[in-house]
């Protein structure tokens, strides 16, 4: 499970091509992330989750050039309160921005804005085990039915919930289920997988 918190802020760089992060305050953003983290940990506690060994914290900042209407979300690794951390954030913005929009689309002189801080706490839960039960036994048709496909065909009919996991058969055939009927055309083969799904393939 995961819980997210975000906060809208507005920080602007000075648009100095030689010091792109000038005007951006990493210490202030770091403080916001700390607050968001405290909030989300408190929520986890209220859900009764105390096992912090299986948790990951994911942080990101929404960034854009001034007056743009779309932001690019930049992952934040490590504390932003350290020296040079905002320069690294701006470099990550440059890289992700050009990755998204193509080479030459980033501007070095434009004012950079940070508009949003997002934080997500992810709890890894134990792996789910599926409850489907293999009906087992051998593959057997429950009857036959006439089907019109260019001409009349007499085809076997299977009950879906009686198909053994791992079994397979070729069309033409019908598979009956309470909610639907599956037509297996002459050029199809069916493989019943480990969850009881029908995996149909065209025969070459």
């Amino acid at each position: 499970m995961r819980l997210s918190r975000q906060r809208s802020i507005l920080q602007r760089s000075r648009g100095n091509p030689k010091a792109r992060a000038e005007g951006l305050d990493g210490v202030a953003i770091e403080a916001i992330f700390k607050e968001l983290e405290a909030e989300v940990r408190e929520s986890f506690r209220r859900y009764g989750i105390t096992d912090s060994t299986q948790q990951h914290l994911v942080r990101s900042a929404s960034m854009r050039y001034a007056r743009q209407v779309h932001e690019v979300r930049i992952p934040v690794d490590g504390s932003l309160g350290q020296p040079q951390s905002m320069e690294r954030l701006v470099a990550a913005f440059d890289a992700i921005y050009e990755q998204r929009y193509g080479k030459g689309t980033g501007s070095r002189s434009a004012v950079i804005e940070i508009t949003n801080c997002q934080l997500q706490l992810v709890q890894v839960l134990p792996k789910v085990t599926l409850a489907e039960k293999d009906p087992g036994g051998s593959l057997a048709a429950s009857g036959r039915r006439r089907v019109y496909q260019e001409s009349w065909l007499d085809v076997p009919v299977y009950r879906w919930h009686e198909l053994p996991f791992g079994s397979s058969f070729a069309g033409p055939a019908l598979v009956d289920a309470p909610g639907t009927t599956v037509w297996v055309a002459p050029e199809h083969t069916v493989q019943v997988d480990g969850c009881g799904n029908l995996c149909m393939e065209l025969v070459a």
Binding site: R67, V69, T105, A110, V111
Partner: protein
């Protein structure tokens, strides 16, 4: 209908490729809008995207300003003269904006990229955006006082911005240094570079999947298909000459009047559009170049005749454009042309749509597409300076695009339908504009009594009032045409839509009222120094409390307003679109005390108005005895073709014969000059103009209401071969 067939492409692949090419054109827009920081692009829609063949032929057009697409073909051809195909590389990106070569005006910056499959040039991507400032003597590059093009925004024939994927920083910085708003220009250029990346990637994918020959063949086939559909449409239309005139006032230096006239000669499956009857070029910035006129033709012709045909170069192949060098729509270098888009180009588009509407009206089975002139003007309001956040800003407000659409035969025009040549227009929310720029709106709303009267009324225009906000002062550049010219002409007896109104109240008591807890919405509630502005007040300073209030042109009406059902008029009044005074004076509808239609009073009021039309009218030049049979083909409004003395004649719905089919129906009509109030309270006329009303001498029905130069001979709008 047979389709031009390329045997190598099956019809399903053709449709898949055609739709994919349109999807790429939309994806270009999305990439551009994602990066731009200019409200003209992010919020509103003064831009263009499209794909072209390797030789510059238009293959697809996006859904924004079609006018910009016309000259872009010329820009690509010109670039290939500067950079022959052997010198073009994948990843090259070019910039151009020269109206004397290939643009509508300098603000429309074009970014063009050759697209390759391997080493082979296979197509071009072309984008354009209105940049708020491209230099010149005045902020926003609309320079009313400019005497030549050198005093206006910069002009670039063709410049390589990006060479084989590497941005040329020296060139880039040079271009940015020419604008007062380098940051907006920077992001727009980068947005168009991104749109180019998308184009290259998608075209390469498409060609990788289907093969170069198949995709190129499909593009050619799209163009041939559109050409063939238009030729078939033209072949089904009657041969003849169809004429219209429109005017613009004030060239930036003086309030002079300029005429744009067009004669559309339709013969077989071809069209000649002759604009040579237009006025001599102006000393100010209202002129269009030949390239701009091509934009006007695309913007007027495509929506008029190709409303159901894909838009591309094929639609221009049956068309010949004729213009007179030295005229206002084909100005000689170095005449100023900075306002071409909203002046000569706009008015040429109006005249062309008016003439084509007559051609459609005379074609059987096309009545649903017959439409009066839409959105006859595009007023310009630019703001700039330092914003409420202390940063340099500029905005070209697209709000004035909220003009009314012309009425159709059988349907009212759309309220605030927007520009005729922008398929999917957008205007920013009031809140977005207030957030991004130091302005505070008092209102933006439908302006009553603006839609042209008719059996079918024109769409209503909107209006707005705002003041500077959050700053000590800001710059405003305000100009329009159509303040003294009703450009949104009515059709077939319908009346024109309103003129533009521009007022400024200096030093109002708005702040005081806000402090008292009131929120005034219009100038009428305020006290201050009120000035009626002319069409081109130009650059001015706005301070908080200075309120600029304006509304725009409603669409033209269609058919005699006295034939509109009184209940429809009552419904319009109930919705607040028309005042009771307008209903009574223009529509002849009288109400009882409770706002219900008074049938008797309405009938007698309408009779009185018809008598009034006839009383002062000049009698027809030629009068014909007797009555025509019931009409055999409607033209629109009261006009139709009917049998008279065994021949086909123009006749009024009342049976009055007007002229033989090949004659001039005006010869059989009465005419009088009427004061502008006849058509509504918001009509004004330039001193050089008059309003003429052609009426049926039999019944007093309205056949045509036209704006003409004083004393000028009437224009024969329909001359059938």
């Amino acid at each position: 209908v047979s389709r031009p067939v390329d045997s190598r492409i099956d019809p399903i692949s053709f449709e898949v490729i055609r739709h994919k090419l349109m999807a790429i054109t939309e994806e270009q827009r999305i990439a551009f809008q994602s990066i731009s920081g200019s409200p003209v692009v992010t919020e509103a829609s003064d831009y263009y995207t499209g794909l072209f063949l390797a030789d510059g032929t238009i293959a697809t057009m996006g859904y924004k300003v079609a006018t910009q697409g016309g000259p872009m073909t010329l820009a690509i051809k010109m670039l290939m003269e500067l950079f022959p195909p052997g010198q073009l590389s994948p990843g090259d990106v070019f910039l151009a904006n020269d109206p004397y070569r290939a643009a509508v005006h300098q603000n429309d910056i074009q970014v063009l990229q050759p697209l390759f499959h391997g080493e082979r040039l296979v197509a071009w991507a072309g984008f354009g955006a209105h940049e708020v400032d491209v230099g010149g003597m005045d902020f926003a590059s609309w320079c009313p006082k400019a005497k030549d093009v050198y005093q206006e925004g910069f002009r670039i024939a063709g410049l390589k911005l990006v060479a084989a994927g590497e941005a040329r920083e020296d060139v880039w910085q040079f271009v940015l240094s020419l604008s007062r708003l380098p940051h907006l220009l920077d992001l727009d250029l980068r947005g168009m570079v991104a749109a180019g990346h998308v184009s290259q990637k998608r075209i390469a994918e498409l060609m990788g999947r289907y093969g170069v020959e198949v995709v190129e063949g499909a593009m050619q086939q799209m163009i041939r298909y559109s050409e063939q559909k238009l030729r078939e449409r033209l072949a089904a239309m009657p041969d003849g000459v169809f004429r219209a005139v429109d005017f613009l006032e004030h060239d930036g230096h003086a309030d002079r009047l300029y005429r744009v006239g067009v004669a559309v000669t339709k013969k077989g499956e071809s069209l000649v559009l002759d604009f040579s009857g237009s006025s001599d070029q102006a000393p100010g910035f209202v002129n269009s170049t030949k390239a701009g006129l091509r934009g006007a033709v695309v913007g007027g012709l495509f929506p008029s005749l190709a409303f159901d045909i894909p838009w591309n170069e094929g639609l221009l192949r049956p068309v010949t454009i004729v213009s007179r060098p030295g005229s206002v729509c084909d100005a000689r270098f170095p005449a100023p042309v900075g306002a071409a888009t909203v002046e000569a180009v706009w008015v040429a588009k109006n005249a062309l749509t008016a003439a084509l509407a007559k051609l459609k009206a005379c074609t059987p089975g096309m009545s649903e597409e017959v439409q009066a002139v839409s959105a006859g003007t595009m007023a310009t309001v630019n703001l700039g300076g330092t914003d409420q956040y202390g940063q340099r800003y500029g905005i070209h407000l697209m709000d004035p695009m909220m003009c009314g659409f012309g009425a159709y035969s059988g349907c009212d025009g759309y309220d605030m339908g927007g520009s005729y040549s922008t398929t999917i227009p957008n205007v920013a929310n009031v809140e977005s504009n207030e957030l991004l720029s130091p302005m505070l709106y008092l209102h933006r709303r439908i302006a009553p009594d603006t839609g042209g009267a008719g059996t079918w009324r024109g769409g209503m225009a909107a209006g707005m009032a705002f003041t500077a906000h959050g700053v000590a002062h800001t710059e405003a550049l305000i100009m329009t045409h159509g303040l003294e010219v009703p450009n949104s002409l009515g059709l077939l007896g319908g009346y024109p839509g309103s003129c533009v109104s521009q007022r400024l109240m200096r030093g109002s008591d708005l702040a005081q009222r806000h402090r008292c807890g009131h929120a005034p919405v219009e100038i009428a509630e305020l006290e201050g120094d009120l000035q009626e502005l002319g069409p081109k007040p130009g650059l001015m300073e706005l301070r908080p409390g200075d309120v600029f209030e304006t509304f725009w042109q409603g669409g033209g009406g269609l058919g005699d307003p006295l034939d509109r059902h009184p209940d429809e008029v009552a419904a319009d009044c109930h919705a607040g679109h028309y005042s009771a005074g307008f209903a009574e004076h223009v529509f002849g509808v009288a109400f009882s005390g409770e706002g219900r239609v008074d049938g008797h009073a309405t009938a007698s009021r309408r009779q009185q108005l018809r008598r009034q039309r006839l009383s002062g009218a000049e009698p027809p030049r030629l009068s014909h005895p007797g009555k025509a049979d019931a009409p055999v083909q409607a033209i629109g409004g009261r006009l139709g073709f009917a049998r008279y003395q065994g021949e086909s004649w123009f006749a009024c719905a009342c049976g009055r014969p007007l002229a033989p089919r090949r004659g001039n129906w005006r010869d059989g009509a009465g005419s009088r000059t009427v004061p502008p109030e006849t058509a509504g309270p918001h009509l004004r006329l330039h001193p050089g103009l008059e309003l003429r009303h052609f009426v049926c001498p039999g019944c007093g029905g309205s056949l045509s209401m036209e704006v003409a130069e004083k004393g000028a001979a009437p224009v024969q709008d329909i001359e059938l071969a």
